[in-house]
């Protein structure tokens, strides 16, 4: 494992990787800075670009969009009180008040430094966490993998918003979508309705762009306004070292909170930012200042939401389980590159995983440079008209979907899943469990089939005698599911409700 780490370090130090990370960071900040345009939309639209690059270049490019997008959302939140992404809602509370006081430059600086600190610390934590977890999961065989996949479906259902029934239904629909095509075990056709194009199953890319990007585009179209927001100016002095030091305790607290939240699938940046803000307010000796233009308020929210970025990679890389919408898109990128995250990835391509994680940490230096010098440029974008941007986004979505397999059928699938996503959003159903069901369905069926074949007709005896690990996971699964469901309903419910439906679109 250590050898793979050093090999990964060598692989990471490539010029083209850092060029693409910089482009990703810039694109992420740019899209995040546009009110209504989310990080999720940016990643879904630009996902096909990564397919035509080396994994060590393409995946860091997407990670750059992820990091840049989460920070970019804070720019309109601070300047015009309009969060560019859901993750920046808590930033509006104090950020806009600072702008009103003529201190927008200071607010943007603290947002940038807190974001980078939170991101870097959580990335280092992720790298350290990966070692023991990877060593453990490398011992897993098909029975343990099947149990883990089942556990992840339970976790997704338990944390799927306010109505677990809706989450479960969407997950079941996703599982059914994964069954379309050729059966992974017996090789027979299922639900193809005689269509040749469906024999290889539903393609992942049109589904991801369809359910994640199209509803966002429709949302912008429905709320379209030609009115240009004014007041998007960067004013006042830069942040002083003493002011950063004053906020440092808050930044550290929010980083720990964000990192913890990032490990739990289904919570994400919005909840982290709200919890970070609330914790900072509760711990402050002057809580009444929060909401009136307190630097600590901006720092708390921004450090927490960016600290989520790294840890969401832990379940993705070690078990192949995406914890949220963004990591589901990253999983799509890994699969398209021929890399299937999970225990086998560490056995065969551990150096690539480490290279990606190392780039993730080093990218924060580029994040600092690009963010520091381009804030005034991104601030101007806040007032750009959506009638110019939306047509371009549609063109990118369609062209990106088409180029992967050069098949018009994929564009039809894009429209179908786009419509599905829009209807699901209108009916207040989250599409995330559906995507998770779709992604995990096939490996679950395959691993389950292998387990049954290994058990040779006596599953219980097999589990008791040979696979106690699988049995242990299956026993704790309902307990974990219940614990998470309870936590979501009691402790986190007020925070999630305050965040509202923004959770869907980061």
């Amino acid at each position: 494992m250590i050898e793979a780490f050093f090999e990964g370090f060598d692989m990471a130090l490539r010029t083209d990787t850092f060029i693409m990370v910089s482009i990703g960071l810039f694109a992420g900040m740019l899209i995040g800075a546009l009110p209504g345009f989310t990080t999720l939309m940016a990643m879904a639209i630009l996902l096909p670009v990564s397919f035509f690059l080396d994994p060590i270049v393409g995946i860091p490019f997407l990670l750059g969009i992820y990091k840049g997008g989460i920070f970019g959302g804070s720019i309109p939140a601070i300047l015009v009180s309009m969060p560019g992404t859901g993750a920046a809602i808590a930033t509006t509370y104090d950020g806009y008040q600072l702008t009103k006081k003529g201190q927008s430059r200071k607010a943007l600086d603290i947002a940038l430094f807190s974001s980078i600190f939170g991101d870097t610390a959580s990335d280092i934590f992720t790298l350290l966490m990966i070692f023991p977890i990877a060593l453990l999961v490398m011992q897993f065989g098909p029975p343990e993998l099947a149990a883990i996949l089942f556990l992840s479906l339970v976790i997704v259902a338990a944390t799927a918003g306010r109505n677990p029934l809706k989450g479960l239904l969407m997950m079941a629909i996703g599982l059914w979508f994964s069954l379309i095509g050729t059966d992974p075990i017996g090789g027979v056709e299922r639900f193809t309705f005689g269509l040749f194009e469906l024999k290889s199953g539903i393609p992942l890319l049109p589904m991801l762009i369809g359910v994640f990007a199209i509803p966002e585009i429709v949302s912008v179209i429905r709320n379209n306004s030609q009115e240009i927001k004014s007041g998007a100016k960067v004013l006042g002095e830069r942040l002083k070292l003493a002011e950063f030091k004053r906020c440092f305790r808050t930044i550290c607290r929010s980083t720990v909170l964000g990192t913890g939240i990032g490990v739990i699938p289904g919570l994400g940046q919005v909840v982290a930012a709200m919890m970070g803000y609330t914790a900072a307010k509760n711990a402050s000796s002057t809580p009444e200042k929060f909401g009136t233009g307190e630097l600590e308020g901006v720092a708390a929210a921004e450090a927490a939401n960016n600290a989520v970025n790294g840890p969401t990679m832990v379940p993705l890389l070690t078990l192949g389980i995406p914890g949220d919408n963004i990591t589901a898109i990253l999983l799509g990128a890994f699969i398209a590159q021929g890399l299937r995250p999970g225990p086998e990835l560490f056995e065969s391509q551990a150096s690539i995983v480490f290279a990606i994680l190392i780039v993730m940490i080093l990218a924060n230096a580029l994040f600092l440079i690009i963010g520091y010098f381009s804030i005034p440029f991104f601030a101007r974008l806040v007032s750009i008209k959506s009638s110019l941007l939306i047509p371009l986004v549609i063109m990118f979505a369609v062209a990106g979907t088409y180029v992967f397999r050069s098949d018009v059928f994929d564009v039809v699938m894009l429209a179908f899943f786009g419509l599905f996503g829009v209807l699901a959003r209108a009916a207040k159903f989250d599409v995330m469990p559906m995507v998770m069901g779709f992604i995990l369905g096939e490996p679950l069926e395959y691993a389950f089939g292998q387990t049954i074949a290994m058990a040779d007709g006596n599953f219980i005896q097999f589990a008791l005698d040979e696979r106690q690990g699988m049995l242990a996971i299956l026993v704790v699964t309902p307990l974990i599911g219940y614990f998470l469901w309870r936590s979501m309903n009691k402790k986190l419910k007020p925070v999630v409700e305050a965040a509202g439906d923004e959770q869907q679109g980061l």
């Binding site: 239904l169 079941a172 075990i185 017996g186 179209i221 030609q226 369609v398």
Partner: protein, 176 residues
């Protein structure tokens, strides 16, 4: 409720038509080649969809009984939503048309038409801006896709040939 209802009805119909929708397992010397039947997971998943849909519909009915009549504000929001849905329908018509036009008309022409239509739909009335955006953006993306990413986009023989030759001419001039 409608969403769950449609999903539930679909699941029940699929369960009933399972023998037609899922092929029989391959058999060798009278023994199935699969450890589990190909219809096992479909049965489990579709039954889950049917049961959960029924559960959601029941919950929705109970909630509906408890709720009072629409307020004036809610009614206004409903009317506003109707105009939103019209825009949504127009968007999907445009998106589907884009997909269907890609092959017969080519990427550049279809993109030109869709960018113009979407921009107008979103209220832009600056014709020069629309024209420049619709003409230049697809060419830029076409160049990135075909020259930098080395992937193909659908081309229309005559018109796109003209574009392609023009692009070739420009790139040859620019190249040292």
């Amino acid at each position: 409720m409608l969403f769950a209802g449609v999903a539930g009805i679909f699941a029940i119909l699929a369960i009933l038509a399972m023998p037609m929708l899922v092929a029989a397992p391959k058999v060798l010397f009278g023994r199935s080649l699969s450890a589990i039947a190909p219809s096992l997971f479909p049965y489990v998943t579709l039954s889950l969809i049917a049961v959960l849909s029924a559960g959601l519909i029941m919950v929705a009915f109970i909630t509906l009984k408890k709720s009072s009549h629409l307020t004036a504000q809610q009614a206004a929001a409903e009317i506003e939503n109707d105009s939103g849905w019209t825009k949504t329908v127009i968007f999907f018509v445009l998106l589907t048309s884009y997909g269907l036009l890609l092959k017969p008309v080519g990427f550049l022409m279809s993109s030109f038409l869709i960018i113009c239509a979407t921009s107008i739909m979103l209220g832009n009335r600056n014709w020069l801006q629309i024209f420049l955006l619709a003409a230049l953006a697809p060419i830029c993306l076409y160049l990135i896709a075909t020259r930098a990413m080395l992937v193909s986009l659908p081309e229309l023989n005559q018109v796109e040939l003209f574009y392609a030759r023009g692009i070739d001419w420009v790139t040859q001039k620019v190249r040292p």
